[in-house]
């Protein structure tokens, strides 16, 4: 599998990363390099082996259902670019 320039532009758009046309070609080559590694991995026969969802073969530890977090709004909003009436303000979003 290899990516086209259009694929790269699309991925960049989805990730909200701005790349120039020159960078697009460079990124395409780098991404295709990574995909080539994956292709090598795919050569391994994995029949009958359950896919792993995580690199470490352990299971999730669970948390007891309890409220353990105090209200730290003032501290958090002190480092926010803009806040008003307890709300974080962001550039206007149009649905």
């Amino acid at each position: 599998m290899s990516l086209s320039l259009d694929d790269v532009s699309r991925i960049a758009r989805l990730a909200r990363i701005e790349i120039s046309p020159a960078e697009t070609e460079q990124t395409r080559m780098q991404l295709n390099g990574i995909l080539a590694f994956v292709e090598q991995l795919q050569a391994v026969n994995t029949e009958g082996i359950a896919p792993m969802a995580h690199a470490v073969d352990v299971v999730q530890r669970l948390r007891r259902d309890a409220v353990t977090e105090a209200d730290r709004r003032d501290a958090f909003q002190a480092i926010a670019p803009e806040a008003e009436a307890g709300l974080y303000l962001v550039p206007k979003v149009i649905e």
């Binding site: 999730q60 669970l62 948390r63 007891r64 409220v67 977090e69 730290r72 958090f76 962001v90």
Partner: protein, 486 residues
Amino acid sequence: MSQREAQWEVVIGLETHAQLQTKSKIFSGASIAFGAEPNRQACAVDIALPGVLPVLNRDTVVCAIKFGLAVGARIAERSIFARKNYFYPDLPKGYQISQFELPVVSGGGLAIHVGDQEKFVHLTRAHLEEDAGKSLHEDFHGKTGIDLNRAGTPLLEIVTEPDMRSSAEAVAYAKALHSLVTWIGICDGNMQEGSFRCDANVSVRRPGAPLGTRREIKNLNSFRFLQQAIDYEIQWQINEIEEGRAIHQATVLFDPDTGATRAMRSKEDAHDYRYFPDPDLLPLEIKPEWIAEVRAGLPELPQQMQARFEAEHRLSPYDAATLTAAPAIATFFEHSVALACAKNLATPKLIANWIAGRLTAKLNESGQDIASSPLTPEMLVGLIECVANGTISNKIAKEVFEVLWNGEGQDADAIIKARGLKQVSDALAIEPIIDAVLAANPKSVEEFRAGKDKAFNALVGQIMKATQGKANPQQVNDLLKKKLAG
């Protein structure tokens, strides 16, 4: 159904978000209590400060297991959390933690009733995920305000197969599901507060044709809106196709003010979520012992209880379904039946009628829950006893019911005595009244003799009126017949 609609088959699938009744969020220890000031319940994990890690709340998994058991589904021994990637300011991480390939619950289903028809709606899956925050678009000098209190609230998203064929079936399913999740105590079911909201996938096709293109109506938070939105959408799609236009897959919003659906403006890439397993969360393992433990703690389910009511008390499926709509209603009914049994009154059907009829109407009118009903099972059974032993007629019973409901008395018997409502079953007392009514209505008497049965009812009405409804109706009938014949 109009003739035109009969030429089309409607296909509906529902996705429901049920907010889970826990104390804390799904991946953080912040509170999920409703109504807090903005961002007072949004901790470092919820606002996605760098370096924070999610830790799964055990009780959310218990809720999912309970649900899976209640709908006869498979519970995954191992399930995976995935990142659903999209950009929106009320989703500060840039992804929602959800489940994709291996959801915690798959399969199962719910029986629904529409009229006399029973139908089984199959579930595809149910998975755990976190809710997003809220965007407030108005009034911040051209900016959008973000409240992240809701971010990270635990949700169970319950997805059906496209099994429903009308808005009525969709509403019946949504109601059955609502009743089930509140019954097993995993969701408070509060639709105004958004604890239970539905997305409806709707398409139409010619009978037998392949599935049509669907449009998804988002965020329906009442059963009425669900019905209205689907009905509008069906008509809209049929019109489009009949006028030669193709349906394009889209996400639409329902506007309760206009009763119409409209497509959301969305970019072509909006649905490319690029799911992948969340490296911050390890696979969730649910051992059979855990499932067994949850199973042991499950209450009798509404459908089991319905079947028991039908068998034990000979109730109709409709009555049994009404009485098992919520645990508090079932408790009220069972408590009443037990009290009636203690008095040797074999009246489960009567009790069911009072609860499903008068009491439910009153509760709806006043917006009250049966648990806080001013009329108690003790009062209801006392009232039924007075009808059963002939002290009052059904008509007067309705009056006494009002008095009990309004809190103007605690005991039916005492109310009847105090207000002189006792039924008159004494022929010597009724006969003179009948004679007077007959004398005053010679025309009705003539008509009856001429073969008009209606005239008889008119006379009965006059007699009941003259006795303020207190005469025993059966006795009035018998005596009147005798007099008219004589």
